[in-house]
């Protein structure tokens, strides 16, 4: 019901841009949008897990940068691509577990814990590289983020689609997914109903860390550079996409399909406004309004129900 509402918003947005610009509704541009959105979408999926469980993760951007950087450094050190990528993704999972530990076991509020971790991880990236981007990565690695099947379908988009489907099934159908929503809805109830709250929390932050790492790898590959500044402000985009997609920051709700629509609304908006030629500063303003309007519509609908 609510998803229909935001899906309609996305469609309206697309219609407007197709009419205003000549090049919006071309196969190439659609693929561009999908490619441009894929990284944000993957991070947002992880964020949906965390927000669904009543948490928040402000460290996604720096985790992405950290894992992209470690992957790049490993490749530079001569490790094969597949091994470096796997290691980077595992490190993302470990960073997520660390987040979860600080939050669930040490009992620090998620906002503060991940804010702190964000700074720690970002700082570590700078220390690791002395602030200098790592370049000269193997050519084959560039394919992940930049390559296209048959010259038109980007690998990154395929990765995003596969991740979205898998993560949607896990969130909806698995025991783990149910537990996340239980913890997000009412932690006390979940605890007294036998849900292992600490495991669940650590699990959801780990999921978010792994997905951030994958996003970081794709980003690094697409830029053919591991930049220490990469992934800056990803958390805001991911939170926005999740919330536009119908999740409540109070926890206990959210869906991957909604989040994907949310991510695409922002992607389409950026792309369309670029095509129209709207100045970057005005784009920021437009996107801000869209976030507020989208959530306001939800608030109004919630009130009307009551």
């Amino acid at each position: 019901m609510q998803k229909m509402c935001i899906l309609a918003g996305l469609v309206i947005l697309c219609c407007l841009f197709s009419v205003i610009t000549d090049n919006f509704l071309t196969a190439k541009n659609i693929m561009n949008i999908a490619l441009q959105t894929s990284i944000c979408a993957i991070v947002s999926i992880g964020m949906t897990y965390v927000i669904g469980g009543g948490g928040i993760d402000l460290s996604v951007g720096s985790v992405a940068a950290f894992c992209g950087m470690t992957g790049a450094l490993l490749m530079k050190a001569g490790f094969p691509i597949w091994l470096s990528v796997t290691a980077a993704v595992m490190i993302g999972g470990l960073l997520g577990i660390l987040n979860g530990f600080v939050i669930a076991v040490m009992g620090i509020a998620p906002f503060i814990a991940t804010l702190g971790m964000n700074s720690v991880i970002r700082g570590t990236v700078y220390v690791m590289t002395d602030g200098v981007p790592v370049t000269g990565l193997p050519k084959g690695f560039g394919k992940i983020g930049g390559g296209r099947i048959g010259g038109w379908l980007p690998y990154a988009v395929i990765i995003m689609a596969v991740i979205a489907v898998i993560m949607a099934v896990i969130l909806k159908k698995s025991h783990f997914g149910r537990n996340i929503f239980a913890v997000g809805s009412n932690e006390q109830t979940a605890y007294l109903s036998g849900v292992k709250v600490i495991h669940t929390k650590i699990g959801m932050y780990m999921t978010c860390g792994i997905l951030s790492a994958i996003a970081g790898i794709i980003l690094t590959s697409r830029l053919v550079t591991a930049a220490p500044t990469a992934g800056d402000a990803y958390e805001t985009d991911a939170i926005a996409a999740t919330v536009i997609g119908g999740a409540s920051l109070a926890g206990g709700s959210g869906s991957i399909s909604g989040t994907m629509i949310g991510a695409f609304i922002m992607g389409v908006l950026r792309n369309g406004l670029n095509l129209v030629g709207l100045n970057y500063f005005w784009q920021q303003i437009a996107i801000g309004f869209v976030i507020i309007i989208a959530v306001y519509i939800d608030v109004v609908r919630g009130k009307m129900k009551k």
């Binding site: 000549d22 200098v132 100045n279 005005w282």
Partner: protein
Amino acid sequence: MKKRLRMVLAGIMAASILGGCSGGGKEDPLTASSSAQAEPQASAAGSAETQAGGGNKEIGVIPKSTLYDYWKMVRLGCEDAAEKEGYTIRYQGTATDTDIEGQIKIVEDFVTAGVDAIVISPVNPDSLAPILEEAAKSIPVIIMDGSLQSDCQKTTVSTDNVAAAAMGAQAMVKQIGEAGGLVAVVSEVPGSVQGEQRERGFTEEIKKQDNFELLEIFYSEGDRTKAANITQDILIEHPDIKGIFATNEGASVGVSLTIRDEQRSDICVIGYDSSIDLVQAIYDDVLTGTVAQDPHNVGYLSVEAALRVLKGEEVDANTAVPAVYVDAENVHDEDVIKVLDPLGTLGLE
């Protein structure tokens, strides 16, 4: 008829997306952010109109950042060059000069929008290579004020950062004199190619001198406040410091702010780039001098090169734009003023 429909829809869109932000429709959004110096240009709706014709006669310009006066002057140079040949400029950039991802998206969208050529200042020489190589297959790519690890670009238009920084170093040595002493460099973002070149140009020149000693390089992220704080720290740690070199506008302003506060005009401060704040600092004898690039010329020469390529002419692989050293002695010269203030909005004399 179709055009009219487009105009109407564009209006609706601007209204609906900006949520009633009426400025979006009427005022030119391209210039709304700057001090409204350039004549009104294609508005959001207007640019859609020009596209409808097919041959856009449009050059896409992507600065490294949209936050600094420097790039506004570059833009003006671009516009002046384009106007001569009846072209228009589509100007779009990211706010920060580290946003690789954002710049790639803009390139993609420019190609989609069908510009005739791209003039870009890449935030990173490696990362932008694949996408620009892709773009170069169909349209000419000109690099301005920066570099690209590729050979797809028709020419690279830039100030020779190393030579310009060395010029700053020479000026400092001359000012401080034989006695020498301790000098520091306040740079921008670690890893920025431009910053590195300027650091290198300066330090290599200083190292040639016997009596001069260099502190390690400080990074201010090109932020005035951070640069000012760093300078305070330097002054506390090394009160006997003789000279400070700042590598971009933000850093230069930051350094001069602290020098002004601490009334340490005995320190030789050489800045880089120019802005009204820096010119004022020279007037007030807070800043010894600055290595001014000629941003208007950078923009002008870049677009001119693009236009020549479009006409089928050959261009050199590198186009050098000379830098100008400005200090209290020449700051009032007419030629210098033209470099410092091509917009003519600063009211310099």
